[in-house]
Symmetry: C2
């Protein structure tokens, strides 16, 4: 008896945000929006998570961002980390050697860089999402995207303006076709983004002619720095080494110019992995490494590829602030400085809280324009950096090649570029970043991420890392550096500041929504005194700041751990004058005001919050 053919149904559903693509940008956006309580779906055409290779570097700033979502520890624990870089070049006799002992240097102060294969990095997000009830819907391909033409609809953030048709790869599934209506769409579908094509967004820029091979292997070698990041310059090309999880090492090996043509598939014009091989890449590696030898240990070749460096940025990041792209869909560049995955995740980190604000009715659609303003500028800087950095991978300077790269110069450049490479030096510029009162906290740069620093609980002297008080919970953090509460005038001024903050006309009460234990839905209030623990009591803070006693802190050293102290100085804040510092939900310093200038904050928040 023939089984009756199942009736084909087309499911239809509604969601606030549909994310297309579950790579680093996609899972970061899905995790952040889901955590913020936004209704979100994420679809991916791959059937499974990536098992090896691809992007692998998590920079210090990205680790901070992960930490702010509660994912920092699991990331550091699961991934490999490295702490120093070594620089190698041929000596005067042409023998590869560490160019100077001092060239084995730190990467960036106080931070390691973490590495793992891309799938393992994504897995951390996927697990958190799963624990909170959100799954990536795999084996699913979007086939059409229609955006409402109605202008009124487009201006209404609660209108379902998108209609996306999704197809399951398994066409025998009775629900193989689905229509999704969404308020917003995020295309995080990679360098060859389908979403970007649908939105008619074009990539600007071009490919460089540098082709690199990549090998993820366990290495059997007498090279003494195999467990550090290394840069090797040689007549035979450059190599970059990145330590990885499970004793793996990633080797980037520059392809000889002569060989580049043979790697290109004439039919597509693209570099083709099939035109080379692991043994070819190993051979090239060995030429650069000599006199050190290198071989594959335990037969462990985890992944390998060849790629050409494209340096392109999308001409727009959004259409009407309703459809967005993020990650590789927006920008492609060399992986040499380990930026790709980081730039992608930080795109989504930047966008997520803004989308949450608009969907909650806390901000206008125009708030979303700052996403492109901020992140596209970073991508352009990244390309500029990339061009500059790539030049350092030319052949080493020698008597016969005076125009070549001097390792000492490269080393120096590397040090000055760490701010950018680490992501710590990223500076935003948009309507959300104020500028007038920078001088009041002159070492906290407006538009840059808030500096980490230890303070002490005023009531219990517990050491607190400031970043632990700045979670990515979509709240603006209002940091009141209240001066010295052990001095009468400062105490009175802080009292006046509290009164202004508490005023019905102030931003907290007008825009803050519900309040519980000293926190508003929109704002989180913290107060820091410059007074030492020995000369004040936590009861010296106005009651307004003490609603939660853990939110009043002192700029002093913890008796046990010796952490803390010098915070006002570190931030460039006068210990008697104080300042109010606003940190955005994504951790960036966006406004600085004097203690008696609560109206500065009123105006600031009125400019984009509703």
């Amino acid at each position: 008896m023939a089984t009756p053919k199942p009736e084909r149904k087309i499911a239809e559903s509604y969601v606030d945000v549909l994310i297309i693509g579950a790579g680093p940008a996609g899972v970061m956006a899905a995790m952040a929006l889901n955590k913020a309580g936004v209704s979100v779906r994420i679809v991916e055409q791959r059937d499974d998570i990536i098992q090896a290779g691809h992007a692998d570097g998590i920079q210090p700033r990205t680790l901070e961002v992960l930490h702010s979502y509660g994912l920092g520890e699991v990331s550091l624990k699961r991934h490999a980390a490295f702490y120093q870089a070594a620089f190698y070049a041929p000596d005067s006799e042409g023998v590869m050697t560490v160019s100077h002992p001092a060239f084995r240097c730190k990467l960036i102060s106080d931070s390691a860089q973490a590495t793992n294969h891309q799938g393992a990095i994504e897995q951390v997000f996927i697990e958190l999402m799963r624990a909170e009830g959100l799954e990536v819907q795999r084996s699913t391909v979007p086939t059409s995207l229609e955006i409402a033409a109605d202008d009124d609809k487009l201006k209404d953030p609660h209108a379902y303006v998108h209609k996306i048709v999704l197809h399951k790869k398994d066409q025998s599934d009775p629900l193989a076709t689905e229509v999704v209506h969404s308020k917003f769409v995020l295309g995080a579908d990679g360098a060859h983004s389908w979403t970007r094509n649908q939105l008619d967004i074009r990539m600007e820029g071009d490919s460089s002619d540098a082709v690199w091979g990549v090998l993820d292997i366990e290495a059997e070698t007498d090279f003494p720095d195999i467990h550090n990041q290394c840069f090797l310059h040689s007549e035979h090309g450059a190599i970059i080494i990145i330590p990885r999880e499970d004793n793996l090492v990633r080797i980037y090996v520059q392809q000889p110019p002569a060989a580049v043509e043979s790697l290109i598939d004439p039919a597509t014009g693209r570099v083709d992995r099939k035109r080379t091989s692991v043994s070819r890449l190993l051979e090239q590696t060995r030429r650069v490494f000599a006199p050190y030898h290198v071989d594959v240990k335990n037969g462990k070749i985890d992944w390998w590829t060849v790629y050409v460096v494209g340096q392109r940025v999308a001409d727009r990041y959004s259409v009407n602030n309703r459809a967005f792209i993020a990650g590789d869909a927006c920008h492609t560049h060399t992986p040499k400085a380990g930026q790709g995955l980081n730039a992608s995740m930080n795109d989504s980190h930047n966008l997520a809280w803004k989308l949450a604000y608009v969907l909650r009715g806390w901000g206008n659609l125009s708030l979303l324009s700052t996403y492109e303003a901020e992140r596209r500028a970073i991508a352009q800087k990244l390309i500029a950096f990339d061009r500059k950095y790539s030049k350092f991978f030319d052949k080493p300077r020698s008597d016969t090649n005076l125009a070549g790269v001097d390792t000492a110069e490269f080393h120096q450049a590397h040090l000055t570029l760490t701010g950018f490479i680490s992501g710590i030096g990223i500076r935003y510029n948009s309507s959300l970043i104020a500028s007038e009162h920078q001088a009041l906290a002159h070492k906290l740069v407006l538009g840059e991420r808030m500096l980490p620093h230890y303070f002490c609980g005023s009531a219990d002297a517990r050491p607190v890392e400031l970043h632990d008080l700045l979670p990515s919970d979509t709240r603006f953090k209002i940091l009141v550096f209240g001066g010295d509460v052990s001095i009468r005038e400062d105490k009175a001024r802080l009292r006046a500041n509290a009164d202004a903050l508490e005023s019905p006309r102030g931003f907290l009460r007008r825009l803050g929504r519900g309040r519980e234990r000293g926190q508003w839905e929109v704002f989180d209030l913290l107060c820091f005194t410059s007074a030492k623990l020995a000369v004040h009591e936590y009861l010296d803070f106005p009651q307004f700041f003490r609603e939660d006693w853990k939110r009043v802190l002192a700029d002093d050293t913890n008796v046990s751990t010796r952490q803390g102290g010098g915070g006002y100085e570190h931030f460039g804040i006068d210990p008697r004058k104080g300042a109010i510092v606003v940190v955005r939900p994504d951790g960036y310093v966006s406004q600085i005001a004097p203690l008696d200038g609560v109206d500065v904050l009123d105006n600031y928040f009125d400019s984009f919050l509703i």
Copy 2:
């Protein structure tokens, strides 16, 4: 129609270790044995986990022990922590005041003390056990314990010498009665231990006449140190304050001698909670606090009780090394120094690896004698400490009471006692602790826990906290401090040391069982050079130590984190002479030998391993 009465079946089962009682000693033992792969069951008569109150303090050494089982972070994250202590007494006019600003002091260097209600502390263990497939069997009461009389059986660690009958409280359960045969029994069933009675073990010592009340409340107060540990001395009695989770505070309030009699139930001779009340305890608290006021906030009274201080130690901890008792079943003392839960957990921590060794056939039954030898001596010290410490809670010294307590003296005594209170100063003495070569590492005390210290990976300069390399995995850790590998003689001596360790006659190959990546089943090998990173390479270590490159370390400072350096000096080891340090599976330094004295270790391990 009547349902047929289910047929009563008596289940019979076999297990290596049966634990009676799921308090702190019981869950620690169950977790540790289960983690070691031992077949274990744990039964408890309570129906549910304790929801509030009871023991609540986790001392720094216990936090280290939890860390060694991978439970340190979750403990610190979930529990409250406090960092300083304040000392209050009446001033010359009789007004309660902080006795000296400097008396707000650290508790113990580099460590907080964690607190939570007992159930929450136990929960951490229960969750880990559950994740590994072991559940506490609740509502279950043991009713008889028979021990085989056969001497041959008693000497055979693999014989099921115990027959225990268990009853479920719910007698309608068809499996209400069960007979368990076990090789070992551990009674962790509290101060009124059923197991102890079955084993005919007697408690020695008596009760003090001090009676204290305990209140776990949220406090509304103008007392400035409510979030710190505090000691208040007054004419009205003493108070101890312990900060707790969820804004709770624990208040220990001494009962006035005149009131003590009225608290005793003449029928039982025991202190009876029903004879006082929360308001009575609060009243007493207020008398001591005056002129500060104190009240219950948000109506939050989490738990309260009164107790009399018993100071007793069991005369034996074991019968035939087959049945053991641990925790409150072995010792009772004042909770004032927060030792109870800590002593209990550390009993089990001491016993667990020894039981695992005997069950695996790696050690003789006599190894188990060291449990009583080591832990009973600690309990006796605890009682002696308790007697001394309790005197400090007499009335304060004054013009009319010259024999009273001087707060400055108490403060001083408190500082000298922190080694004991924190658990860091615990020193074992038994046949497992050697003594001859103490001078080679004179700051590591034989019998005390290994000192924590940061070292750097020789290959990658990553900072490593030594305790992270000493997990409670039942392995002995062999720490080879190999001298300066950048100097030829030292390198040659380390090579000779490796040869001796590798020799077929050496303890590693004779007693170590299987080896994988530089670790044996019984031993874990780590090598530390005194050479700075800049003057050596990790390839300078003999290959024998480099089987796992992460196990060769340098006594130097990490370039990024500034952690590490000075380890040899910190341990009192000559940077050229070196030493071998043996750390037991439970983290205690048990043997020190010269680099050319591998035979010292051979003899040592031959004395108790088989």
